[in-house]
Each structure stands twice: as structure tokens, then as C-alpha cells.
Symmetry: D2
Subunit: 382 residues, 4 copies
């Protein structure tokens, strides 16, 4: 596919993800980690305007200088950012204005791509498209949070059916002690945090072919797992008590039955499906209760070709740290990953709302250990 | 005017106030004191559904039982309320849904009013209409806050011109010591907090015919008033320092000139106009700096026929307390005023965005001393 | 008594109040409103050093210039104050150092008072002694809080018996409508907030001869008073729920019986004694539950010669506001009262731990409506 | 040395560390991470009473059942703990009472140790002594914080001179790529977090023989390092801005010169000494500014025999995570380390206030990345 076609395809997907939304759904920010959908639509557009069109497309007229202030996220190099918690207070620019901005930039990009860009620009563009795919996944998370925390529980799409995922029979894969190579290699795109490919030494371990199901997780709940500090980190235990956590996010106990909010609305919990929307603390506590543990990200990567993954990101025991030889790029692009490499946990795999082709066995996702609005689950190791 | 006409007129005004808004403007809640406009539109409708149609209109079908949960405000008697800070997180019901609800209730009310209601219902309805007029004033405050805190400073209405108000020459009215009567009397409507009419003893005092202007307030700013604790209450001084307050709300110092956000957008401060959007703390500090004071609400009421008022609510020195013989009504309606009678200050007068006919010389408005998003100003006494 | 004798007597009482304390008890500050006892001992000494000795006693050598920084309280005129919440973090100066400071200043004062001071200095000194008596009352509050919140419930004095107070039979005193005079008049000392004496107009009212007892208050508790929002201000209701308040401060429900912490340790609640350590919110809620109300401070003052008072300060319905003609003194002394005249409630009477001779029928005490560590109770009006 | 002698020696050191303190210094808790010295003295005693005397010494009479409540720290298994932030509010038990408790327990231990304990008890005791040595180090940190944050800057010991530490010439040690073994092995004591000894694969790296000095760190300060976000983690940058951090803890810029608080009082910064009291965020930012990085804990351990360490703990890039085969002990003792293995960073080495013999090349210390009151410094790798 040409770069221009690639661009069009990725850009259209973001719009399609938002197509079931009402204008009001684009605006709100119920918690700090959730961004208003209109912000995602504007920010991903701002990326191409700022890093491609303004520096490289001669004669390009900026759409609106104030948007730089509104749609910047963390790129401290570029200018003053809107304080993140304020995003949900901004009614303007309107959704219509932002789509105008999007069309304007897409038109300019189409013109720009009439000529073959240089390798450097091409690389930047591919970064931009991968960046947009990350926001597509976040869009799904944020939309679910916004609708799933509304007392009316509106469906995103009444006909939405979760990806069919044939959960394999649970079996233990045995991995021998020794040196393994991890990290990206090859021709295609990868993020800076997947480099360098390097050797790690792993002790022998076992990792399960299947992810923990809702039925299994319910046993933990019913065995009083949320009320027994022995299974929890001290920090996790404080989190459970301060937030009165009793079940995964989106779960509701109604008339003696467990329901959870899905894109199709409130539905009975599917016992056979992998448990989802649990924090790292909960994943760890569940594993402790089972007398097992979570795999490290390297244990996961070394064995990943032997099991099926891709339904939801999987919490690992690993902290998010740089690989040997990790280097930040120069300039604003260099802020991409490195500055988050403290106090976060690595997740591996991908999820049912990951954009097609965005997943990769060396991909490293990362979140703070208390977060649950992502699609995340548990695979056990021992 | 018939009650039905009255109803129609008041209800239409709320809609007209919102007519320049974009859908996005209806949704956000930038601070806890500001409610999303769509909430006002729903809540005022809910009032008539809950207190008139459901108990008194036989055969009335509730529009949506969940709305009771969403649009209740403080009426603890009626059911579980949505926590106030959450209002801005609710994208649903949509603005269109709420207008449908509004039309549905208005149609039912029209039918209901075909027959002459009983005196008791009539009284409730008049309360409901006055309640809606209060929300109309709040709508104006909240819209100004929402648009005035947006980094794009969008105008509410480019052609909006503040009410022309011929500020009288500043003169001192001398009032003799003695007994005065205050509080509502007569036939029309008043709120419970204006009763009973009763006698108060006032010492001799002087009160000014003019309100403090922006030009006068600038002298206070320029004389370092915000940086000299001697003029401030201890609590006000903490407020100034913690919030880095340097000027009235909506003022911006740009290239050496003072601008303020108005419904028509950002404009140079009109020096001849009364100062507006200052907290009680600032009003008090200004008066202290002048070697004067604010009037009590009774000093204000006793002299109010001798000066012009109605441009903006005027902070008084009085705390918001019950009058002798004050009684709460039975039931949910009784929660109207009494439960706010602690830690608030009384304002007297009315403002340029008060609904026509809603103002009254005995009217008691009340807010916490730190609030500034209302239209409020300073009249001096000594 | 001579001024020198007066000085000695007042100064000795502060030391006597602290005599049962362990050094550790002098140091802690469990909540922001409580000051460490050693701070009171130092601060009251600092007052005489700063306002008498340094300006008026020729040749006086300051004890330690750093103490000005440590023992200043709110006197913003005098210098940078220690942030109030930090007081409990300061282990130095030690208790022994502070008593050395106290002796040093007392010796200097004794020398200073060998000559008859001018009328102006005499006035300042009398203010200083009244100031110290206020801190003596606070010392009692703070010591009770410090020991009463320790899980070991140590006694302040095992032999402490609350002042015997013959609670009169509860009767209603009827007061006729009319003009009354309130505020201080006469020769002796009064605080600036008791001036000017002025006329007020009171409607006819009734006020009770007896204060509400623990037995009566228990009826409110047992009738679910803490769980029925109808009796509470909105702000009080939030306070009850956020702080899980179920009973007066220092009450503990142990094996089905109510105990409360007293200076002699944990004891069964004395049902015949007046209820104490309740917030204004609770006092108001109790009165509402009885279908009655609290008196205003003027209703209290006008009738006070007809009932017995002095066991505990009595919450009134009045906000703490300046009297007509109130004037701040010049300089630091002027910060004494005026700057607290917002958001506080007036209490009238005095308490069992008020220093002898400090009470007065025109005395106005004031606290925020949520505070309970003072000795405060309820007298009903209607 | 016999176990009884060992016990005596360790227990005496805690008392000796506190010997320069005033009683007041034992009581305060200026921030949540600092515990009052008297709490350390009681808690380390409680450990032996709870885990040795009560279960294993027949006929032992508990000193005071309430102390279990006061001196428990994190051992959720044992009972309700005092909320950690409350420690500084407890004036009782007094320091004298706690020393009585200490003597009582030490006497009982002496009797108990007259007979040779079983191997299991011996192991528990050695854990208890190592636990006390950890608290000895914390005592030093906490005492420094308490005195160093007092506006009078009292010395802990006027004659205290920091351990002479001949900083070696800065040189790079080159380590070849390959498999290394890390973790404890041998006969003596180690903590559970040092096990199992296992293989790791390291890429080639260089590590410096010298720690970063104050002089070098000043270059970073003077080059605007605290004001350039490019060197910081996003989380570190927020921390710098929210806390207005401009220099290491205890540093004060006075009349153009840098001073820092030491145990001997406020002294000019020793430029040749290693920089101390900086957070992980600062250590990382310094390394970034130099174009280098911090070593991982395994890089540190593999090379540690080639450089001198022991002046202050050294921040590593590693997150605090379990080693392969890590197992919690059964019961309350099992809570020792495992439950902190999230969101913390590993430090390696030891410090000038580490108890003699407590240091070990495999020792893993761990703290949250924002903490600075420990003795911690920077060694660079690349």
C-alpha cells in the first residue's frame, strides 16, 4: 500500500470509531486518565500539522494558531500545554470545528504526499500513523469509560459483539533455563522502547496457554480475595481500601447476579471469557491467591509463539525500563517514550480494540499499576 | 397574564438564553459551582414534572424514571441525587433528549393548566416559575464562566451590549437612627427567606448613591491592595494568596492594558462601569482600604428607594440568617432556602441578567464569600 | 490588686494548667486547630516581650531573636509567621528553653512594673493579660484533645471533677418585643468586638433557663437524628457524612454503653450534665429536631440576667459580625478581632475552664461552625 | 560473639544513637515518611516481644497490651495498626515509659537467652536484629530530618564529623558482555529479597569508580538543570515543579553561598564530598544531563568488588522486583519485603550511618523515587 493510502486508511479508522457517538460524548473527561474523544481527533491531526506540514510543506498555512495550545499533549518542547485535567472543561473548539481542522490537514497531507517524501519524513509519518493507532485504542477505552460511567448505561453500538476468541485449554508450557533474545529486529516499524534487541538470561519457568477467565476470577472474589491483605502489595491494599474495590471495573452486582458494561450495554458477565479491566494490583493478588505469579515481559516474549494472545493486554511483573542501548530521538519526537520509564508496569500482547496490524510480539505497552480502563487481563506463570 | 401564559413565557426565556450555545457548551462543568447548561434545562423541567405533574395530573406518564436521578439537585427528600461534581461527566441524556423531555413536560403542563388549578397548586407553580428564573440567572453566570475560561475566548453573542446604566453622581444619603421595618409584605410572591416582615433598629449611617466603578477599583489594585494584609479578613487573605488573585474574575492584563471577558468577547475594561465579579473578600478589602465599610442588608433595604440599583447584586456585610418567625415549608419544597443559612453572605439588589420582574427590594440573594462568577459589585456605607 | 500582682497571678495560672503534663504532651499538634501547649507558653510570653518590653523598657535585651519567628501567631504586621500547621513539627525550642524564656520575660516585667506605667501601656498590659486568659482556656481545650485522642486515654488529673453546676429546672423565660441595648458599657476591660453598645430591636421570644442535657441529646441520637438530613444545614449534612459523625466529640460506645473522655479519663456519660463538645451544626440540628431554634446573641444577652450560665459556651444563631461603630486599633494590636469577622458563629457565656473573672455578659466568643473541641453546649429558644 | 552478646550490642546501639536527643525530639513526625524516634525505640522492642517472647518464652507477661496497638507498623497479620500518619500525634506512651518497656523486654530476653534457643528461634532473632539495624539507619535519617527542618537548625552533635571517605579518582571500569551471577550465597544472614542467587545476562558497560561530587552536581544546578524538562522523567518534572525543588534536600542558599544542614549544624557545602539527599528523579536527570545513565542493580553488583562503596546508598535504574524463586515466609514475618515490590527503586551499597556489619554486596535497599531524606547519591554508568 502506498504511504498516501496508508495515511487515508488509518485516518479514516479514527473517524469510524467515533461514528456512533453523540456530540456530547466527544466533550467530557470523567477522570484525568480519560481524554475527551474530540481531543483525540484534534491531537492526532495536530501531530501531522506540527511535525510534517509546518516544517516540510512549503506554503502551508496553519489552520488556527490557538489549536497548538489546545491539542498539544506532552510535548513540552513545542509550547505550553493545556493542563491535562482541563481538557474536559473546553467546549470549544466544537466537534464540527475539529472535523473541519481534520479535513483541512488531511487535504494538505494528500497534496503533500503527491510527491514522494524523503526517507526521514517517511519515517516521521510512519511514527505519526502508529501514534494515531495508539490513540485509536485509547479512544475505545475512553468511549467505554464515558458511556459505561453514565447512569443510563447507553450502548456504544447495540450490535457490538466482542471478538470471538477461542480460549485454548489451559496448559502449562515449560521453558528451559538459558539465554534468550528479546526486542525488535527486522525491517518494519517499531517504537524506540523495543530497542535494542538484546540477550536476557531466564531461569526455567512455566507459562499458561490460557488467560484467566471470569469464572476463575469469580472464585477469587468469592473466596474473599478483596478482603485478605496477604495477597496484596501494601500499595495495592491501600488502593483497594481507599477505592472500595470489590470487582473488576464495569462490573455491577444486581439482584444477585454479576453484570458488566460492554459496548452493547449492560450484559451478564460471560463466565468463559478472559477477565478484563483489572489493575496490576488485582492481577498480582489473583496470582498470589493461586500460589503463582505473573510472567516477566521477557518470559512472555520468549514463549509467545507457543500460545494465543491478542484478546487483551496482559499485565507482566516487569517494570517499564529502558533496554540496553535505548536512545531518545532528538527534539520533540524524543519525548515519545523515554520520559515515562518510571513507576509503570509493562503489558504485553494486544487487545480486541487494537488497530489491525498494530500488534507485535515485541510491543511494550505500559500503564500505572492502578489503572483499569484499558483492556487488560491475566496470564499466569510459575 | 394567565398562569398558563406566565408559564409559557418563563419557560421560553430559558430556551432563549441558551439559543446562542453550541451543543458542546451545554455539557461541561469547569468548576463545581458551575452547572452544565443542559442540566439547568433538565432540572427546571424536572421540577414541574416532580412537584406538579406526578402528584396532581391524573394519568400523567413519567417521561423517563432515570431522569429523576440525573436532574435532582439538592432535594434530598426525593431520592438519591447525582453527586454535584459529577454533572459535567454526563454526556447523556443528550441536549436533544433533554429538549424532548422539556417539550413533553411543557405539553403536559399546557393540558394540565386547561383547568384552573387549586390555590395550593397555583402557589407551587409560582414557586416553580421563580425557581426557574433563578436558574435563568445562574445560566447566564455559568455560560459566561464556560466561555470566558476557554482559551479561545469565544463570544456568547458578538452583539451583546451590557445594559446601559446611568451611574448616578456619587453622593451620600444620610439615614437617621431608629426603627425600620424590613422583609416582604403585600400580595405577590416572595421566597420564604424574606419573611417575616419585622422591625430592626438601625444606628444612623450613610450609604452611597453610586456603586464603585472599575476606575475606582483600579486605584485599589494600583495601590497594592491585593498585597497588603491589613485590608483583608484572615480568611480572605489566605484565599488571595492560595489563589494568586490579583484582579476581578475575567480580567486579563495584556500588553499593559486591562481587558475583561464579556458576553461579546474580550474587551478593554470600561472604566466608568461598576466593578463586577469580585468576591465578598475583595469587596470588604476595598471598603477597608477606603476607610469605609459595606452596608448591612437592612441598611440597604431601608435606603434602597433613594438610590438606583439593579446592575449587579451588591455584597452586604450581613450573614445569611433566618428572619424572626422563619418557617420551612413541609416536604421537599421546605428544603428550598433554610438549609443554606450558614456560612453565606447576603447580596441585595439584582443584576443585568436577572429575569424581568424577578427583582424585589426585599429579595435576599446569598453566596459563599469566595465566589465571583455571579454579577456582583460594591456599594459603600459609613 | 496592683498591676504587677495581677500580672503575676495570670502568668502563674498558665503554668499551673500545664503542671500535670509530661514533656511529650507539650509538643504534639494532632489537628490544625490544636496548638502544642509549649507554643501557648511561648506565645503568651512573646506577647509581653514584643508589645511591652521591646518598645517601652529601655535597655531590654531580647531573649532570642529567632523566637519572634517561632511564637508569633497571626500578627502579620510583626513579621513572617510560622505556618500554623507546622507548630507540631517543631521539637525545639524545648519545653525547658521556653520556661527559661518565660522566667526571663517575667523577671524583666517585674522590673519594668516597679515604676507605674503610663495609661497607654497599662491598657496594653491588660489586653495582654486578657489575651493570656484566652490562651488558658485554649490550653484546656488543646490538652483535652491531645490526651483524649491518645489510644491509651491518659487522665490529665485523676482527681479532676467537673465544676458542680446545679442545672436549674427547665423553664421558658418570655421576653417582650421591643428595643434592647447590647454591648459593653462601664469602666472595666472589654474586647474591641463588644463595642459599641447599641440598640437592637427584638421580637418577642422565649428562652430556656436550662441547657440541653446529655440525656436529652441521647434521645436525638436514638431517634436517628444523625441520619435524617431534614434537621441539618446542607453544609452540616455534608460534614456529618464526610466525618462519619454519630455522637459528640469524646464519646465512645463501648459494650452498649456511652462513655466520654474527661480530664479524669474515660468515664460513663453523666446523663444529667449539659451536653458538651458538639458543633454548631449539631446544636442547630438538635434544635430543629425539637421544633425549636437557637437564640441569637442579642436574645441571649438581653435575657442572660434571668438564667444561670457559665458551664459551657453556648452556640447562638448569630454570625460573628462587627457592631455599629466597631473600629480596629492601629498597628498589630488592631489585628486582634476584626479580621476573623467572617464565616464564624458567636458563642455566649463562658465555660468551666474559663479563667476566673474573664467571663462577662457582653463577651463574644466565636468559632467556625464545625468545631467541637471547645466546651460548648445548647440552650434553646423559640 | 554469642547471640546474647549480639543482642545486647545491637540493642545498645539504638539507644546510643538517640542519646543526644532532647525528649521533644523523640515525639514529632514532620512528614509521613519520618517516624518519631520514640516510635522506633518502641517498635523494635515490640518486635522481640511479639515474635520471640510471647510465643516462645513460657510465663512471659506482656508489658502492656495496648502497646501492640501503638508500636505495630505494617504487620497486618498481627492486629489493627495505628494509621501511620498519626504517629506524631501520640504524646503517650512517654519516652520514659518506652525505655521502661525496652528494659523490661531486654531483661526478659536476657533470661530467655540463658538457654540456647532452637535454630528456628535463632533465625527469627537474627532477623529481629537485622530489622533493628534497619531502624537504626532510619533513626539517623529521621533525626536529621527533624532537626534539619527546625528553623533553629540545632546540631545533633556539634562534634559530628562525616566519615572520612577518600573519594577515588574517577575512572571507568569496563565490564564485558556475558552471564553474571547475582544474589546472596553463603552461610550468613540475608534478607528474603536477596534470594535466589541467579544468572543474569549483561551487555558490556562501563561504571565509574567515583561517585558524583557536590562540585559536579553544582554544575548541573548552575547549568539550569532543574529548569530544563528534557533531562527529567515526566513524573520527575511534575515533582520538581510542584515542590519547587532547586537543590538537594538540606541545601540553603544564603548570601550567595550554598550551605547544607549536617549533624553538626548548618555548614558550607563540602564540594569534594559526594552529593547526597537527592531523589531518584534528580539522580536520573543529572545522568541524562551528562549524557550517561545510572547502572542497573545487577551492573552494580557485578562490578562492586572493583570500586569503593559505603558512603551513601546509590540509586540504580532497577525497579524493586522479586528474584526468580523468591518466596515469602509464612505468617507475619512473610510481610517483610515482598509486599513492597511495586513502584519502588533499588539502591545499592550502604551509607555512613549504616550499622556496622549490616552492609553486604547483595543487599537491596528500596525507596520511592521521590524520597530524599535517606543518604543517597549517584554513581554513573554508560
Amino acid at each position: 500500500m502506498s504511504l498516501a493510502d496508508c495515511y487515508k486508511k488509518v485516518r479514516q479508522l479514527s473517524v469510524r470509531i467515533c461514528s456512533p457517538l453523540q456530540i456530547e460524548d466527544y466533550v467530557v473527561q470523567p477522570v484525568v486518565d480519560v481524554s475527551p474523544p474530540k481531543w483525540h481527533i484534534g491531537h492526532t491531526t495536530w501531530f501531522f500539522e506540527t511535525f510534517i506540514l509546518k516544517p516540510y510543506f512549503m506554503g502551508y498555512q496553519e489552520f488556527n494558531a490557538d489549536y497548538n495550545y489546545v491539542f498539544n499533549s506532552y510535548y513540552e518542547t513545542v509550547g505550553n500545554r493545556v493542563i491535562r485535567t482541563d481538557r474536559g472543561n473546553l467546549s470549544r473548539p466544537t466537534v464540527a470545528d475539529i472535523y473541519k481542522y481534520r479535513t483541512y490537514v488531511d487535504d494538505a497531507m494528500e497534496n503533500f504526499l503527491r510527491e514522494e517524501p524523503s526517507a526521514a519524513i517517511r519515517e516521521l509519518m510512519i511514527l505519526g500513523l502508529n501514534h494515531e493507532e495508539q490513540h485509536q485504542e485509547l479512544l475505545y477505552y475512553d468511549i467505554k469509560y464515558i458511556l459505561g460511567h453514565n447512569p443510563l448505561f447507553p450502548a456504544y453500538d447495540e450490535t457490538y459483539r466482542p471478538q470471538v476468541f477461542e480460549q485454548p485449554t489451559a496448559q502449562w508450557i515449560s521453558m528451559p533455563e538459558g539465554i534468550y533474545e528479546v526486542g525488535f529486529e527486522g525491517e518494519g516499524f517499531c517504537f524506540d522502547n523495543e530497542l535494542n534487541r538484546h540477550k536476557v538470561y531466564l531461569n526455567s519457568y512455566q507459562i499458561n496457554t490460557a488467560m484467566v477467565t471470569n469464572a476463575e476470577y469469580l472464585e477469587f472474589i468469592n473466596d474473599n480475595g478483596y478482603h485478605d491483605f496477604r495477597f496484596w502489595h501494601a500499595e495495592g491494599w491501600d488502593w483497594v481500601k481507599n477505592n472500595h474495590v470489590e470487582a473488576p471495573l464495569y462490573w455491577h452486582h444486581i439482584n444477585g447476579q454479576w453484570f458488566n458494561y460492554t459496548y452493547a450495554g449492560l450484559k451478564p458477565v460471560d463466565l468463559a471469557a478472559p477477565v478484563c479491566h483489572i489493575s496490576y494490583y488485582e492481577a498480582y493478588a489473583y496470582a498470589s491467591w493461586k500460589g503463582m505469579r505473573l510472567p516477566t515481559e521477557f518470559e512472555w516474549e520468549a514463549a509467545a509463539h507457543q500460545f494465543k494472545w491478542g484478546k487483551s493486554w496482559e499485565w507482566t511483573e516487569s517494570a517499564y525500563l529502558p533496554y540496553p542501548g535505548f536512545k531518545k530521538a532528538e527534539g520533540a519526537i524524543g519525548e515519545y517514550n523515554g520520559k515515562f520509564m518510571v513507576s509503570q508496569k509493562v503489558l504485553r500482547g494486544s487487545s480486541e480494540v487494537t488497530s489491525p496490524g498494530h500488534e507485535r510480539v515485541t510491543y511494550r505497552n505500559f500503564f500505572h499499576p492502578n489503572l483499569r480502563w484499558l483492556f487488560c487481563g491475566i496470564r499466569l506463570a510459575r
